[in-house]
Amino acid sequence: MVERIEDLNLPNAVIARLIKEALPEGSNVSKEARAAIAKAASVFAIFITSSSTALAHKQNHRTITAKDILQTLNELDFESFVPSLTQDLEVYRKMVRDKKESKAKKDSSAGDAIASSSSAATAAENEDAN
């Protein structure tokens, strides 16, 4: 649960970096403008969440998924975000999959006597760490 209201603010430094990346070199952003963009970003997050929730409920889904988010973005005229988001999601899924695989490998190599010395060493190290 959120304990402090500041926990809902997006980190200023990241906002500033994202804005800077979007603008041509040599341009600046005033403090007030940055605060406004940050606030708009939070409102945007709530806005697409509630629209996606409504969409998921309409389909009798309890969990909102990435698909709901993409569909919501399409409906709310943010379809320009969708292609790049779809790509990012692929990378994210691959990352999650790789993480699972390497974890499975770790588990099996820990009990495997024929495991190569290097991976056995890391597994042992890992057990020490635990």
């Binding site: 649960m1 926990d7 809902l8 997006l10 980190p11 990241v14 994202l18 804005i19 990346e21 979007a22 603008l23 341009s27 952003v29 005033s30 007030e32 403008a33 406004a36 963009i37 940050a38 606030k39 708009a40 970003a41 939070s42 409102v43 945007f44 997050a45 709530i46 697409i48 969440t49 509630s50 996606s52 929730t53 309890r62 969990t63 909102i64 998924t65 990435a66 988010i69 993409l70 709310l76 005229d77 943010f78 975000f81 790049s84 988001l85 990012d88 999601l89 994210y92 899924r93 691959k94 990352m95 999650v96 790789d98 993480k99 390497s102 974890k103 490998k105 770790k106 890391t122 760490a129």
Partner: protein, 162 residues
Amino acid sequence: MASEDLFQNDYSEEPDLGQDFDKGDEMNIDAAEHGAEEVEQAIEQTNIPSSANVDPPASTTTEQAKTSNANKTSEHEHDAKLTQLPMARIRNIMKLDPDLQIASNEAVFAVTKAVELFIESLAREAFTYTAQAKKKTVQKRDVDLAISAVDSLMFLDGALNF
């Protein structure tokens, strides 16, 4: 061709590094994201040799040095990740919606990325008004103008005035 071999080495080494990282680190969200970053970089690297083949050997070595430098920075940057904004923070914001029961991790990731794109596009939109006024610094006025000019930003109308 020697240079290509070196690149091949880099390429095959990287996933191992990522795995070792995973094995050693139980807080493996960061580690795995780090791994993914490396895979991405490895993909980028595979593209390089094709251009390196055409280049004279001298420039190949500099390019090689550059990429190995890039490798080092990514190894040291533990918070090299797919998102710039913290997903946990975005999840907290999403939880403000009383109707939200469960959001999948992928959904949180998608919202995080969407918010990043949103920030960039709002900044770009606002800057058009800054440029029109022949200024270099984006003011709040420019953000307000952008919001009232773009239809899809209607939802922000009045949300920023408190």
